[in-house]
């Protein structure tokens, strides 16, 4: 592949905490050299991109992306999701196993990754189901899927209620050093719930689950982690109470990672307003105090990963009474702009925002991307930190337009995305 140089950039590398001027030399899809500071000698015959002082960071890695392929292609395909990702500065996506059929055997892992690679857009990986058909009862082929390239194992939005099953999944997975991810949500307290219990849900007449449903389940999960020694990711933490539980476990020396969705960092339950179903999420939106606690947890590193929690739902599934509407929101294309709002409005340092979007997930999943270093894949995003963006859901590349950011003014715009040194946006 031809060589490329991106000059005159503001380099942002969370792995080394570097935020300053510099340039990148790229060859054969990998970063050849990172030049920090002033002028750079560019050899002849190299394609040059002048960044014009804009921000250049590792491409984002989004570990929680749902599509409808296979089984529900009108919702989203690997292609439409990849196009969304590229437009959002996301260079790597990890597909959730809740397709139809579920990604619960090595052939399905292979299918997803092959189809993804054939698109020649972004890096597409699969997460495997932890139990067969995500039934929460029978362990899936974790070893074979791991061998086929699955990056981690999860039943997605389904909670493995049976503690014995989860205990076996965790201890078995430990043999492969495989990462297990679970949503902390007590299945009984959250049954039928579409909002967080509280004054708002009561007033709107919506069935709510108490915030402690998250903490209760997390306490169980962490006790099993402690017992089995599994590598573990707390998937989509959303309450201050659960963050306390997580902090306690970390203080005891337990190595557990945690992710949060961009939606829970940007919105609170008030956004539901007059039954706006685009804000019907799972987990449901929380009070502002929880949102603030999550932002603090990103700041101090308690949270390792920010995801888009990309969950496409077509209009017919959203234009329903709130309680009947499908949960979830698309988020790949707006991920970076939304995350940058945490810098502009909530005072987070840029590197602290980018870390859980790049280096955090890369090191959790053992990827060599997510850094600006010689030898790393040239997966990059160039963005204008200050350019205003008005989100128009109708123009999103996703096949589903259920964006809670629709009509919102964001600040921060993706100018270019490179995957393996090739420009995909």
């Amino acid at each position: 592949m031809t060589a490329l140089a991106i000059l005159n950039a503001r380099l942002l590398d969370p792995a080394t905490d570097y935020d300053g001027p510099g340039a990148l030399l790229i060859e054969d899809g990998r970063i050849l050299e990172v030049v920090r500071g002033g002028a750079t000698q560019v050899p002849a015959g190299v394609e040059v991109v002048d960044a014009g002082g804009k921000c250049l960071a590792p491409g984002l890695i989004d570990i929680r992306v749902k599509t409808g392929e296979p089984g529900a292609e009108p919702k989203e395909t690997l292609k439409s999701a990849s196009l969304s990702a590229a437009a959002g500065g996301v260079s790597t996506i990890v597909i959730q196993p809740d397709t139809d059929p579920a990604v619960d055997d090595p052939a399905m892992v292979d299918f997803i990754q092959r189809r993804g690679a054939a698109l020649n857009l972004v890096n597409v990986f699969a997460a495997g189901a932890a139990t067969k058909n995500r039934d929460g009862q029978r362990m899936a082929e974790i070893g074979l899927m791991d061998e086929a390239g699955a990056l981690y194992f999860t039943d997605g939005d389904k909670v493995i209620a049976n503690s014995r099953t989860l205990q076996r999944v965790m201890s078995y997975a430990a043999a492969f050093n495989a990462l297990i991810a679970c949503r902390p949500a007590d299945p009984w307290l959250t049954e039928g719930a579409v909002a967080t219990s509280g004054e708002l849900a009561t007033r709107l007449g919506l069935s709510g689950a108490p915030a402690i449903a998250e903490r209760i389940q997390l306490e169980r999960d962490l006790a099993l982690v402690e017992q089995t020694g599994a590598r573990f990711l707390v998937d989509q933490i959303s309450t201050a109470g659960a963050l306390e539980t997580l902090a306690r476990a970390r203080a005891k020396g337990l190595e557990v990672a945690a992710s949060v969705s961009i939606n829970h960092l940007c919105f609170n339950e008030i956004d539901i307003g007059d039954y706006r179903t685009f804000y019907r999420l799972d987990p449901p939106l929380r009070p502002e105090s929880d949102r603030q606690a999550l932002i603090e947890a990103v700041r101090d590193g308690l949270i390792d990963v920010i995801t888009s929690a990309h969950a496409p739902a077509p209009a017919e599934d959203k234009r329903r009474p709130f309680g009947e509407a499908a949960p979830g929101a698309v988020g790949l294309e707006t991920l970076l702009s939304a995350a940058l709002m945490l810098h502009h409005e909530d005072g987070l340092e840029l590197l602290d925002i980018l870390r859980p979007l790049t280096h955090g997930p890369a090191s959790l999943l053992g990827l060599d991307s997510g850094v600006l270093a010689a030898g790393a894949p040239a997966d990059l995003v160039l963005f204008d930190l200050n350019a205003p963006v008005v989100v128009d859901a109708a123009k999103l590349k996703s096949k589903s337009k259920n964006s809670p950011f629709d009509g919102r003014m964001l600040q921060g715009k993706v100018l270019g995305t490179w995957v393996g040194g090739r420009r995909v946006f």
Binding site: L206, E316, F322, G323
Partner: protein, 326 residues
């Protein structure tokens, strides 16, 4: 009794435009508008007591009642109200199963809207369904109950019954008792009765009263004796049978023992206290027949009669808002 010509004149005189394009929540009203509607409804009560009960206030208008949940009393109350105003009425009971076949609420709304009704009356099992419908149609929408959210016409008819019994609801202490958590009647009544100056109390077991109900500006009690002390009105709510048998309360007999209204418990309220119930009643569960059927204390029969008059007032003024009636 007033003669028929005078009543008709009185109705025209009191006819007001509805304060909001739709009636989705008790919060769509304001105190003067609520009083105006009550005055109009009072005239309709007199009118309904005549033998000839047909007006042409809504002549040529079409009212569609669409009930996604079974209901006999509310749908017939709306149907009678609309017919007495001279409107053409279609009542569509929609079985839950036909909706499950794939037609969404929005599809139904768009279809109905194309038939150009003037007023849609909707009951649906999901909170917010009436509000959603109102965004998709060009006619006025009346919420006849959406999930556990609101049932605003019930609140207005309760207010009408109370005003006729007490003269003024301002300063009354009203206890709403039972399954507050799942009750749309309770939510609408809390809004409207508080708006009109009543003090509202909520009484029920902790599993049936939302933990944050005190933030509605109501006093919350779990003990009937304590809660009923000094009350002018005791409004009982229906307890859905599926919520008993161990789910939220241990048994019907235990519920009746502690929260069912009988003579003994009624005596804890003020001597002149009146009893209300939105119906249909579970006799012997939340209310003893002895109390429910005693016309000297019970307003329950009145509530049904007031239901028709209140709904006539609502429909007539909504029609009035959308172009001069008649």
């Amino acid at each position: 009794m007033t003669d028929s010509a005078t009543v008709t004149d009185l109705i025209s005189e009191r006819l007001i435009p509805f304060p909001s394009p739709h009636f989705l929540s008790a919060g769509d009203l304001n105190p003067p508008a609520a009083l105006g509607l009550l005055d109009l409804a009072d005239a309709f009560v007199d009118f309904n007591r005549q033998s000839a009960k047909s007006l042409d206030l809504m002549h040529g208008r079409t009212v569609v009642n669409i009930f996604f949940e079974n209901s006999t009393r509310t749908s017939s109350s709306f149907e009678i109200a609309a017919k007495r105003l001279g409107a053409d009425v279609v009542t569509m009971p929609v079985q839950a199963s036909s909706v499950a076949k794939g037609e969404t609420l929005i599809d139904t709304a768009v279809t109905l809207n194309a038939m150009k009704p003037d007023i849609l009356v909707i009951r649906h099992a999901s909170s917010g369904a009436a509000a959603l419908l109102s965004q998709k149609v060009g006619c006025a929408v009346v919420n006849a109950g959406d999930g556990r959210h609101e049932h605003p016409t019930q609140a207005l008819l309760d207010l009408l019954s109370l005003r006729r019994a007490f003269g003024d609801v301002g300063g009354l202490t009203i206890a709403i008792c039972g399954d507050i958590a799942h009750s749309r009647v309770a939510r609408s009544n809390v809004i409207l009765l508080s708006m009109m100056g009543a003090r509202v109390r909520l009484i029920g077991p902790p599993t049936l009263v939302p933990g944050d109900a005190d933030r509605w500006g109501c006093e919350v009690f779990h003990d009937m004796r304590e809660g009923l002390q000094g009350c002018d009105v005791v409004m009982m709510l229906r307890l859905q049978l599926e919520r008993m048998e161990g789910a939220l309360v241990p048994s019907t007999r235990e519920y009746f023992r502690f929260w069912g209204l009988d003579r003994e418990k009624l005596a804890w309220a003020l001597p002149h206290a009146k009893v209300m119930h939105p119906g249909p009643m579970n006799r012997g569960v939340e209310i003893d027949s002895d109390v429910a059927d005693d016309l000297s204390v019970s307003l329950i029969q009145d509530q049904v009669e007031m239901g028709v008059a209140a709904r006539m007032a609502i429909l007539a003024s909504l029609a009035n808002l959308r172009g001069a009636a008649r």
